[in-house]
Symmetry: C2
Subunit: 145 residues, 2 copies
């Protein structure tokens, strides 16, 4: 082990982002996993529906940038566990309108509250400036593609 030099790959943005994302996601993941047996994809679908109310799989895909197969399977599992209902559109029978059930709503509210607390905890390790700029920069990067 020797050799370090000028461009520190530890500063390579995609690498740093991954490390931070992985590390910061872990604790929250354990909550939705242990408490509701959910996968990350499922949690994401849940929260999109919780946030925006009724949506179609396609709309979720647009917002989350998740691939449609992931969404399809997440929706299936959530439907199996009665966290959401699928309602075929009358005008276009390919389309399904998804909405949370009461149980789904409850899970959403619970997890959302956990998320909120957890976010506050993460934020607390950063200064106000860091928080503001960080989110702003991440937002830019996220919609860079």
């Amino acid at each position: 082990m020797e050799k370090n030099d000028d461009f520190p790959l530890q500063q390579f943005l995609p690498y740093l982002l991954n490390q931070a994302a992985e590390e910061s996601g872990l604790e929250f993941q354990r909550v939705y996993k242990n408490r509701y047996g959910m996968l990350r994809t499922e949690w994401r679908v849940l929260f999109h529906l919780g946030m925006y109310g009724q949506m179609t799989a396609k709309e979720i895909g647009q917002r989350s940038k998740m691939h449609k197969t992931k969404i399809s399977r997440a929706v299936q599992r959530l439907a199996d566990r009665r966290f959401l209902t699928r309602d075929t559109d009358d005008k276009d029978r390919r389309v399904e309108h998804l909405a949370l059930t009461t149980a789904g709503e409850a899970a959403y509210r619970d997890l959302r509250q956990v998320a909120e607390k957890y976010d506050a905890k993460l934020s607390a390790t950063l200064s106000d400036e860091e928080n503001r700029i960080l989110r702003q920069a991440l937002w830019k990067l996220a919609r860079m593609g």
Copy 2:
């Protein structure tokens, strides 16, 4: 679709981080994938060895926080393709010293240069302040566990 409210989950740090990480990693991923048939784990091992010279799997694990099975498998595949050599330690025959071959070094230098350019491109979409604070904050978050 209606319903938005006070704590915007789009601002939830782990979510934002993931989106940014995924989006920002994509283009670079295509390079090491198409050009060398590498996985992310393999690229990471490669770059640790390129950065620090000879290392053991364990040391890579400590620095990268990757799980040892991932490293083990990445090392295997890199060894198969003659990107690195494994050299058993004489004093402790459990330990293997890993080092890049000439081909490995070449791949590393190539990818590193691509990474460098790509990082510059990403940085260009942000202000100086954003760049500075972003990296600083990510660094803190990454070693928060």
